[in-house]
């Protein structure tokens, strides 16, 4: 008697009939036998052995290339920015940062003869990310492959160019900086958030950060480009390191002031766009080479 079982959406299947038909496929069975044997005889492998951690190397297949490791640091009152680590702002108030992420894009090397070469189209820098399982896990560096030679400057944009900003976030794989998985896409504005800084501040002076603040800059006009003077003489297979840094206090108390206890948020409202403007201006001004 054949074994019969049914699904709601499948016709009844008589397994015996199918099995008889399938028995004829000798060649396939030989392959399967080999597979089964390989499974049985592979049992000596130590399955508990962990794979090595993934490494993101530079593209060593590139011809005549050398490499640059670009790293971005952030400080709060001069100390390394850390998830919810308390620091004093310019007005002496306790501040805790919970989110500091941003796009760096359109990175160019400028050669001694003023030729510009794009070396990176976009990266997403995460110092602390409140939404992560581990907010303190940062992603602040990336490799770029460049042609060997002499360079005098690096140009980059904090934010995205209009074409990147008009991208469909679902057209990218999840590990791409512009993927929707980064949580940077503004659904209602069909655009990306460029810089996201959030935290809480003690407004009463009792030592308890009692008010939350959050600023998400965006729209094409919030992108800021800056050129950094940097001499790089790169021979074949050289690896240079370029370190940038910026200071949280300078983002709120730079050339332009934004008191987070008073102006607590900006999330895309055009009526208060000047807040995003001040954040954008101060951020790019604060960003410098170490």
């Amino acid at each position: 008697m054949g074994v019969t079982f049914t699904d709601n959406h499948n016709d009844q299947i008589d397994v015996m009939k199918i099995q008889k038909m399938k028995r004829r496929n000798i060649a396939r069975n030989v392959i399967l036998l080999t597979l089964v044997a390989s499974v049985v005889f592979s049992c000596t492998k130590d399955d508990s052995e962990e794979c090595p951690a993934p490494v993101i190397p530079p593209d060593t297949n590139a011809v005549d290339s050398s490499y640059i490791l670009m790293n971005f640091d952030a400080t709060a009152a001069g100390e390394v920015l850390e998830w919810r680590k308390q620091y004093l702002d310019e007005l002496g108030r306790i501040n805790e940062n919970e989110q500091a992420v941003y796009y760096v894009s359109n990175v160019y090397l400028i050669s001694d003869d003023d030729q510009k070469t794009m070396i990176e189209d976009v990266q997403f820098i995460e110092h602390v990310d409140r939404g992560d399982l581990d907010p303190s896990e940062d992603r602040t560096m990336f490799y770029v492959t460049v042609a060997s030679g002499s360079y005098k400057a690096i140009e980059l944009t904090v934010g995205l160019n209009p074409e990147q900003n008009a991208s469909d976030p679902n057209s990218f794989p999840t590990d791409h900086p512009l993927s929707s998985s980064k949580g940077t896409y503004w659904d209602m504005s069909t655009a990306y958030r460029f810089v996201m800084i959030e935290g809480r501040i003690d407004t009463t002076g009792d030592g308890d950060p009692d008010e939350v603040y959050g600023f998400h800059t965006g729209y094409d006009q919030s992108a800021r480009t800056k050129t950094f003077t940097k001499t790089l003489d790169l021979s074949l297979n050289d690896t240079a390191r370029v370190d940038f840094t910026w200071e949280v206090n300078e983002v709120f108390f730079g050339d332009e002031t934004l008191d987070v206890a008073v102006e607590k948020t900006w999330h895309g409202e055009m009526s208060t766009y000047d807040r995003a403007e001040r954040i954008s201006n101060n951020f790019i001004k604060s960003l410098r080479l170490k």
Binding site: N8, K22, W186, V212, V262, H267
Partner: protein, 382 residues
């Protein structure tokens, strides 16, 4: 049946260490695969998703196949997975309730012990990056391991469950067709269930249809007004006087990522959360009361709400975000209006917001026969 039994017998001989050179009286070895063909049919689940949703990352070691989904569906509704044979995954994840627990605030396991968390929806699960309210599992496959052993859920052991399933030859056939081996174990069971869960795709709500073609599928003025509130921040003059009204739902429930940011937030339910939430995973006190953002899809049928099911209906949820926020010391910075209790919606605005939320119901998903219980393969199963 004869070939099948011979296959089982031969496998037993192989695994009992009977080698030809040691055993002259052994029967001739019969390849268990002689009677079956392992030729699974690949399934591209991403083709079933609306174009504006992210694509699923399918694990390379568990590609989706028709056979895997079919086996996983049977297992999802299989009470043999519980120690006393009374509960399946589907017991607490009922399709008609958006794959939640039949309106219960928390679920009760086979021993009559109530858990402390609300049963999460299983909707577009392939788009999630972590599972459980505290995110302690990083994949559907890992997630599926836990309820079997959990003493307040199915309270069994994996070896015992595997033994029970291996006694059902129809399941061994399905296991072979899906994974190329007749031996069922925790690995194949969780992989199959994960495949079935990934296939539970919702993308045909009223809102989805409007998004694809707003002329052909218009929303009502209330629904559109609710959508505007959903995607807008509240702004006031600093003294609590509203300048622009908004419900500010989008920060955590933005639609481009399927009405969840797949992240963790303390949304101000309690000043001190007794449930540690993400703290249980990270060990950091600042993560107390931080929970994964659930999708809002099918929210009309997934009540009650929040990690502990404290809110019985949508009205109570909207009232909470409007006036009921508690100033938890680690409340999320996105809960900007905690100082005035919430986003302070008017009654009309609450009604509009609710109208929009109700457009997220996907009746096709809730009634899809492919997602419901299959005809059981074991007599006596529900």
């Amino acid at each position: 049946m004869r070939y099948f039994l011979l296959s089982i017998l031969s496998l037993l001989l192989v695994f009992s260490g009977c080698r030809r050179d040691e055993c002259d009286n052994c029967p001739p070895a019969i390849d268990p695969t002689d009677t079956l063909v392992y030729d699974p049919t690949p399934v591209n689940l991403n083709e079933r998703l609306p174009s504006y949703l992210p694509r699923m990352d399918i694990p390379s070691d568990n590609p989706t196949t028709e056979e895997g989904i079919r086996f996983g569906r049977h297992l999802f509704y299989e009470p043999l997975l519980s120690a006393d044979g009374t509960q399946s995954c589907g017991s607490c994840h009922n399709q008609a309730w958006g794959f939640t627990d039949n309106g219960n605030a928390v679920s009760v396991g086979i021993d009559g012990i109530a858990g402390d968390r609300n049963s999460m929806q299983i909707i577009n699960a392939g788009l999630r990056r972590s599972f459980f309210w505290d995110g302690r599992s990083e994949s559907l496959e890992i997630q599926a391991l836990e309820p079997i052993n959990n003493p307040i859920e199915m309270h069994d052991t994996w070896p015992n469950v595997a033994d029970k399933l291996n006694e059902v030859e129809e399941y061994q056939v399905m296991n072979f067709e899906a994974f190329g081996t007749i031996t069922i174990d925790s690995n194949t069971v969780t992989k199959a269930i994960a495949q079935f869960e990934r296939s539970l795709i919702s993308g045909n709500s009223k809102y989805d249809r409007w998004k694809m073609d707003p002329i052909k599928y218009p929303m009502t003025p209330d629904e559109l007004a609710g959508r505007q509130l959903f995607f807008r921040d509240r702004e006031d003059d600093g003294n609590g006087n509203v300048i622009i009204s908004g419900a500010d739902c989008f920060h955590c429930h933005g639609d481009i990522t399927d009405f969840t940011d797949n992240r963790f937030h303390n949304n101000g339910l309690d000043i001190f959360s007794k449930d540690p939430g993400l703290l249980a995973v990270t060990g950091k006190e600042e993560d107390r009361g931080r929970f994964k953002t659930p999708t809002l899809r099918n929210i009309a049928v997934t009540a009650p709400f929040m990690h502990d099911g404290r809110f019985p209906n949508l009205d109570s949820v909207i009232n909470f975000y409007s006036e009921g926020l508690q100033p938890a010391p680690n409340i999320d910075p996105l809960m900007k209006n905690v100082g005035i209790g919430g986003v302070r919606l008017t009654d009309d605005e609450k009604r509009q917001l609710k109208a929009f939320l109700l457009t997220l119901t996907d009746e096709e998903f809730n009634n899809n026969p492919d997602y419901g219980p299959p005809t059981p393969v074991v007599a006596g199963q529900p």
